[in-house]
């Protein structure tokens, strides 16, 4: 049995707990938390442990799955905890990956641990598909489209506007752009041509809806470069239709081989729950990390470094016989 601990019990931590239950070769040992552990009752009945007490669990855990946020939690937590445990995180601030990797690599190497960063679907499965597709089709263009799905960052931005009681934002890929890529037209697409943004807002009683809509549509870095639609809805409709976190998207590479032969590779995800899917990817790679650690490896890793066989509970022989 692979012994897993979770650090952080939000949407992602709860998703990891559920994903472990789907993997009979894994066992959840405990949940590390920043909160008062007395206040936390993990659904699976495992103990909640204060983050400050985690060192006492060093010999009882094979891999810690870090479920904190990329903005402030993981840049500190991942190197710190990699000094005690094999770890895996879903760090997703693309621009800061090289710095994060270096810090985590140093901590993990010094401690003789394996530490994997940026696991999920983007970065993660989408990154893998960009790498495979670009390695195969050398002459071509790669496109990543996100959605239709909830962007938590954009939803948070809406909710900070005065007069907004509740709000959610869906990122929607532009169908014409996807079809143009599929036809092998290798379009050059602006930000506006790739995605639209659709917002559903519950306004406070008596709020100025026109002002809210204008604040959203002109918001720098979030909405100003996109075609944005704002729908004002009732709280009942919000409750009924906007309480889940679907997401997904497409990685496409359109290339040319030989004398102008068109070739297209497409990978897509249609996710009923973004955090639950990310959790499943984390848990599959936690299996890989436990194995690499058992083989004596140390240091930081990304999805690019892990041979696919390490993700599966099947033996090499079974994989060759049944999945190849």
């Amino acid at each position: 049995m692979i012994k897993i601990a979770i650090a952080g019990y939000g949407n992602l931590g709860k998703g990891v707990e559920k994903a472990i239950a789907q993997n009979p070769d894994m066992e959840l040992v405990c949940v590390f938390t920043r909160r008062d552990p007395e206040s936390l009752k993990p659904a699976s009945g495992v103990p909640a442990v204060a983050l400050a007490e985690m060192e006492a669990w060093k010999d009882k855990v094979d891999v810690v799955v870090l479920c904190g946020g990329s903005a402030t939690d993981l840049p500190k937590q991942t190197p710190q905890i990699a000094a005690m445990f094999n770890v895996i995180d879903s760090f997703d601030t693309h621009a800061n990956i090289p710095v994060h990797f270096a810090a985590v690599d140093q901590a993990a190497k010094e401690a003789g641990k394996v530490a994997m960063i940026s696991v999920g679907w983007d970065p993660g499965m989408f990154s893998l598909n960009r790498l495979y597709a670009e390695s195969i089709l050398r002459d071509g263009s790669t496109y990543t489209f996100w959605g239709k799905g909830v962007s938590q960052g954009h939803s948070d931005a809406i909710r900070r506007i005065a007069g907004v009681k509740r709000g959610i934002q869906y990122t929607v890929p532009v169908p014409e752009a996807i079809e143009s890529v599929r036809r092998g037209e290798n379009p050059e697409l602006t930000t506006r041509q790739k995605h639209t943004r659709e917002c559903f807002v519950v306004a406070e009683e008596g709020a100025d809806k026109a002002a809210i809509e204008n604040s959203i549509k002109t918001m720098k870095n979030y909405f100003d470069e996109y075609d944005t639609t704002v729908h004002f809805i009732s709280e009942e409709e919000f409750e009924a239709n906007h309480r889940t976190l679907p997401h997904g998207g497409f990685v496409m590479r359109s290339g040319v081989t030989g004398e102008g032969t068109k070739q297209l590779i497409e990978y897509s995800l249609t996710l009923g729950s973004n955090p639950e899917f990310t959790s499943c990817v984390l848990v599959a790679y936690a299996r890989a990390i436990a194995r690499l650690a058992a083989e004596g490896e140390t240091g930081a890793r990304t999805v690019f470094d892990i041979a696919p066989k390490y993700l599966s509970p099947l033996s090499d022989e079974d994989l060759r016989a049944h999945l190849l």
Copy 2:
């Protein structure tokens, strides 16, 4: 520069030659052939060398890409040549992969070489996607659909029928089946419900077309379990519309996480040329094999065993900065 040799100069060998030209870190050294080398002039101008003389090239080649057929060539050639060179093949008789792997593994280990088998898109990229998807979504169903594309085996079978001058067969996935999978219905699909077969035939002057059509539709193992359509066309139409080898298909995994949340992973290929695409996959993995050999590894490998980073000409740092 990675020095590549090709063994076998049919559609696949010619595709590998073109793919190498798209990879500036690779160089084609020679083409090994069973034919009289005097009769063969590779398009790139490299020498043709008799297979019997290949040992003299041992120190001039990093990887030999084997481009023979799976039925009779590769079961003998891959172990034989792995005793002298690092090799890679596209062996695609799924049921015989374990036996082929064992024979190649033994030969390569004894010789201190790396030998990769079953590289292409199925087996190959489709296998990888089955493995990744099943490792992530543990509760679910996996579906592989092929086409629309030319099945060379079925086309050959048509051409063996008396009265058939020319013939080609397209495997076509059933759209309703794909849509049902996409809706998360987890259908149980019979052979007939997954694919149809569409044949285009040029009949000999005065041939009995009804007899030809009946022979095709009732042919055991090839057509009898499918809904098959037969179109008789003129030789001109055949020349104009049926001289390329398109193919492709879909690997889909529909799964459930948490409390009944639906999740869908889909990978698809739309290939203008099946052999040219397979060649590109072979060449990307030839890069990986050259690197693994340089690291001192030996023995047989499949796509499951190779960390993705080995396929790309980019450094680990560049991959993390630009593709993750």
